[in-house]
């Protein structure tokens, strides 16, 4: 007996999850050296690198690329699973897969790239991602509204998730910002649309954390917060957002130790969330043996790392502010 159709689905889901994992590993590996090596003071103890590698704006840009990549990987996996669940009824449902996959590839490129110049192709991809995130949000709102019952709890719970496409928008935005930071001239304040880059990003990332937390809150409310761990993504990230907000408003020369520390907690939570969701899948009837149902009906494995993506971006923004107190 063959299980072709089911297998195709599992292939999608499996590939998506494998992609998520591989993407995260690659991103971490690609960004490893600068991420560990940079830090003022400690950097001096390490062997010397090419100057561009040490240039804080490039380091920040690469970190931001990495963060955008984690987000893109999460979107790739999540939209693959969810749109497979939706049977790709509309051809447009392939869009987030293509866009997030190219965003992921672009972010890998950007993470590895140590040159202090923006790349037109990265810019184009990131902007495409941002725009498609906006369009996707519109689509999802339209789809919820047209279901019988309209904008009701039922359709917010089980219809197209309104907040999901925002993740690819955020990924694109982070990428786009990274290019602006990267290309800023030595000795000048890194800027995004003439605003200080670090603070602008901190604000954007804080808003992203709030939105993502809202979506987790909606879905965890759907699950009646039956497990106390389900409270984490609705409590920790808003706090992180508040800390980032404070950092964005703060004057130059501040350390933001607590904020940085909190971003690490959020990143850990994002990755640990995959494990908790995997446990959630096992709690459903048939457990992992019934994966062809439970991956779809259980908690979404790829969703939590979006918190990690945002938290990594937050770290990058904070460190940029440290290197460029006026940024």
């Amino acid at each position: 007996m063959t299980e072709f159709d089911t297998d195709r689905g599992s292939l999608n889901a499996g590939l998506a999850i494998a992609g998520l994992l591989a993407g995260s590993v690659l991103l971490l590996a690609a960004g490893r050296a600068p991420a560990n090596g940079h830090r003022n003071g400690r950097a001096a103890a390490l062997p010397p690198r090419r100057s561009s590698r040490k240039r804080p704006t490039v380091v920040a840009a690469r970190r931001l690329n990495r963060a955008a990549g984690v987000l893109a990987a999460s979107v790739l996996a999540d939209s693959s699973v969810e749109h497979y669940r939706g049977s790709f009824k509309n051809k447009a449902m392939y869009t987030p897969l293509i866009v997030s996959a190219s965003t992921l590839a672009t972010s890998l490129h950007g993470t590895a790239d140590a040159r202090p110049a923006a790349h037109w192709f990265r810019d184009a991809t990131y902007l495409t991602a941002a725009v498609s995130g906006l369009i996707g949000t519109g689509f999802h709102i339209y789809n919820v509204g047209k279901k019988v019952g309209g904008f009701s709890w039922q359709n917010f719970f089980y219809g197209a998730p309104i907040g999901a496409p925002m993740a690819i928008l955020l990924s694109g935005l982070l990428g786009f910002c990274s290019e602006r930071v990267r290309e800023s001239r030595k000795g000048t304040r890194p800027e995004i649309f003439q605003l200080p880059a670090g603070r602008t990003m901190a604000a954007v990332i804080g808003a992203g954390l709030l939105g993502t937390s809202g979506e987790a809150g909606l879905l965890h409310f759907r699950g009646a917060f039956h497990n106390p761990f389900m409270l984490l993504p609705v409590t920790l990230p808003p706090l992180g957002a508040a800390l980032l907000g404070r950092a964005a408003l703060a004057g130059p020369g501040q350390q933001h130790r607590a904020t940085r520390w909190w971003m690490r907690v959020l990143a850990a939570m994002g990755f640990a969330g995959v494990g908790l969701h995997a446990y959630g899948v096992s709690r459903n009837m048939g457990g992992w043996r019934n994966w062809s149902q439970n991956i779809l009906n259980g908690p979404p494995l790829p969703a939590p790392p979006s918190f990690a993506g945002l938290a990594l971006a937050g770290l990058a923004a904070l460190e940029l502010m440290e290197d460029h107190p006026d940024a």
Binding site: M1, T2, F4, D5, G9, M285, G286, R289, S292, Q293
Partner: protein, 219 residues
């Protein structure tokens, strides 16, 4: 009630038994359905004459297409009566399941002989249909009915048992495109025009070759 020719199947190539070893079936379901598929062909409750009548009744109530092994409706009813299964209630005047069947079959034959001079199984399909329609509307008066109403016997015993037996069989499940047994795995896609990969695709819902391919591979 006219027999249509051989219409194209609504769910071409779909056999719910394809899913038998997959996650939609659990052990207890496999056991129950296997027992049903292995129902003895020979009656253990009915006499051979009665059994022949039951088979001819079933052939009129749930006429089956050629070209596939028929669902053994009479044998399934025999098994149920042999086992002594009961609905748990009966109208005033109707005996319990086993006696009701015996008495009803006798009465049916008596009616057939009175109308056409032959036992029910020996008259043509159209005449059989006519007799069954009369029974359904209560238009029968043979003393062989005793206190049992022909209408009640049709609706609450005979046709009921025939229909339940037929639709207890995987062949019938496949015919109507039902998903079949579903545990531990149930369903994910519940809305209009949504189909899980482990459900049958309907003819016309896509390219004919594709529909057949999907249905052969539900799992």
């Amino acid at each position: 009630m006219h027999d249509r020719g051989r219409p194209e199947p609504r769910y071409p190539g779909y056999d719910v038994l394809t899913k038998r070893q997959g996650p939609s079936w659990n052990e207890q379901t496999r056991r129950v359905v296997s027992q049903r598929l292995a129902v003895p062909a020979e009656p253990r409750f009915f006499t051979p004459d009665e059994f022949r009548t039951v088979a001819s009744v079933a052939a009129r109530i749930v006429p089956q297409p050629d070209g596939r092994p028929p669902v053994p409706v009479a044998a399934l009813i025999d098994e149920k009566l042999f086992r002594g299964a009961s609905d748990g209630y009966r109208p005033e005047g109707m005996p319990r399941e086993r006696e009701a069947w015996r008495q009803g079959l006798q009465a049916l034959d008596a009616e057939a002989k009175a109308a056409y001079g032959a036992a029910f199984h020996a008259i043509g399909a159209a005449r059989q249909d006519g007799l069954l329609a009369r029974m359904q509307s209560g238009d029968m008066t043979s003393p062989a009915w005793g206190r049992m109403s022909p209408q009640d016997f049709f609706k609450r015993r005979m046709a009921r048992d025939v229909v339940l037996a037929y639709y207890a069989h995987p062949t019938a499940w496949s015919e109507i495109g039902w998903g079949g047994p579903a545990s531990p795995r149930g369903y994910v896609r519940l809305d209009f025009d949504e189909r899980d990969p482990w459900e049958a695709a309907e003819a016309g819902s896509g390219d004919a070759v594709e529909v057949r391919r999907i249905n052969r591979h539900v799992g």
